[in-house]
């Protein structure tokens, strides 16, 4: 080989590397382009949707009344009034839901991580949480209707909505809390046991505080998620054009319900309210997501 290299009459040197075939290279680039294209395909509807909502709805939001007035006494064709009654409903229903779901969810997660030990009951619980997370919101709503309204005889109310939302929020809270608790290093627990601290106290004083910011982040995300749910409000509470502070009785508006009802209003003012409420709902959810992100960023769990 080395001899031929020095031969002045040698033919053009054979390349050291065999070129990969054009077909293979083509396939490689094709695959990469298709993947990039898939991403673009997914972004188009997102951008399209957001732009549509912002362009069609921002006009409603810049009006000061939007945030401070309800639609009480506003005629369908009037460009006045606001959504403060619906904003109140959305937030209150989600908060009531969180007040019920968060303690149960955290207790369940603590059981699974600290006491479950992969026992039979723990495995069944995990399986149930998995399945519960797949229950469609309309089924959850129907269940609460069957239990709360038909069987127990209560009237439809914002509280019934919150109960249905609990079913949807619970699996999310359990999962995220579980994940955070598992991130807490065992050395911390052992250090506490070594000082003679009982298990329950170790969990309350050491484990939960360590995981707290992660748990709060999960709760915020879960709350944001249930705020966008429409099926439960359609089934479990009537729409009201004015403010109702009573969680246990009467009709109460929420942003999704307002959108759904104003859709029936053919007037231009109704359309503006629809898009305005959609934009408000997105902003509300984004706000909760943003808070969640900020919490997780500035107080990440101290694993090291």
């Amino acid at each position: 080989m080395t001899a031929t290299l020095t031969d002045p009459n040698r033919p053009a040197q054979t390349p050291a590397f065999q070129k990969i075939s054009g077909a293979r290279q083509f396939k490689n680039y094709l695959a990469m382009s298709l993947m990039g294209l898939a991403f673009v395909v997914a972004v188009i509807p997102l951008v399209w949707l957001l732009v549509t909502v912002v362009v069609s709805g921002y006009e409603a939001l810049v009006n000061a009344d939007w945030w401070s007035k309800s639609l009480k006494g506003v005629l369908p064709e009037q460009f006045t009034g606001g959504v403060y009654h619906a904003l109140y409903g959305s937030i209150v229903q989600a908060v009531v839901c969180a007040v019920i779901a968060v303690p149960i969810g955290i207790l369940a997660a603590v059981y699974l991580v600290e006491y479950g030990n992969n026992s039979r009951f723990a495995r069944i619980t995990t399986f149930m949480v998995d399945i519960l997370s797949g229950v469609p919101s309309i089924v959850a709503a129907l269940f609460v209707f069957a239990l709360w309204v038909t069987t127990l005889g209560f009237e439809t109310s914002a509280f019934a909505v919150s109960l249905a939302l609990v079913l949807l929020m619970l699996p999310v809270v359990v999962r995220s809390t579980e994940e955070m608790l598992r991130l807490v290093p065992d050395e911390l627990r052992e250090a506490s046991y070594a000082l003679g601290v009982p298990k329950w106290k170790t969990i309350v004083k050491i484990v939960l505080p360590t995981a707290l910011s992660g748990i709060v982040t999960g709760v915020m995300l879960a709350t944001a998620r249930v705020m966008g749910e429409t099926a439960p409000v359609l089934v479990l509470v009537g729409y009201s054009r004015s403010i109702n502070f009573d969680v246990f009785g009467g009709n109460m508006a929420s942003l999704p319900l307002l959108i759904y009802n104003e859709l029936l209003n053919p007037e231009e003012a109704g359309q503006l309210r629809v898009w305005g409420a959609a934009l408000t709902l997105i902003l509300l959810i984004m706000f909760f997501n943003l808070v969640a992100t900020l919490i997780s960023r500035f107080s990440a769990i101290k694993t090291k």
């Binding site: 080989m1 080395t2 290299l5 040197q13 390349p15 050291a16 590397f17 065999q18 070129k19 990969i20 075939s21 077909a23 293979r24 290279q25």
Partner: protein, 258 residues
Amino acid sequence: MAKRFDIKDLNIYYGKFHAVNSVNLAVPPRNVTAFIGPSGCGKSTVLRSLNRMHEVIPGARVEGKVLLDGEDIYASNVDPVEVRRTIGMVFQRPNPFPTMSIKDNVVAGLRLAGVKNKKQLDDVAERSLRGANLWNEVKDRLDKPGGGLSGGQQQRLCIARAIAVQPDVLLMDEPCSALDPISTLAIEDLITELKKEYTIVIVTHNMQQAARVSDQTAFFNLLGVGQPGQLIEVDDTEKIFSNPSQKATEDYISGRFG
């Protein structure tokens, strides 16, 4: 087929970290070159840069030249895929493709290159498995998954897979570190046979192994924490193990550190 390597002033970086400093080394064809040295001295990094496998790690880059029979594998018109096709590699832990049968594992490289002829694939599979001293052990179960073999057999399967594409050079990154002594011996015997046809570069932690299988040995060392790895000296294996010219080499070989 076997080709020679010339490594000229090779520097390797991971992001801002300077991992290996200015390596100059010639690897003759049909010859086994062993890289030895303490952990973290950059010997595996240098080996991986010889077929551009280090590029798998984000942020890794090299400066300098690696010439294969005079051609720079880092030239701008050279695709890393071509380089790896020409320079085979065997890893620390055997890594057969778990979803493929033994035979499919061996011919995976050829299949990628577009060979479809069944007869040719069968022939290559047999030849490569014989070449890896594995044929007699697996000829009755070529269609079984490769994951069912013992660790030593899996490693020879990976060697068969590497030589099936008839590379010019074989790189081995501590190929025996996960194996028991008997499998290690089998692989060492195999290396001695393979060097009749291939240029082989092997990284090893085991100095007896370097002494047994290699013709030439390169000793790498770290000058200090956070400092880049250095090639201290390279020479005939016999000379390195009997009369090295550097004090650090002698200390390492006699077990005084590392």
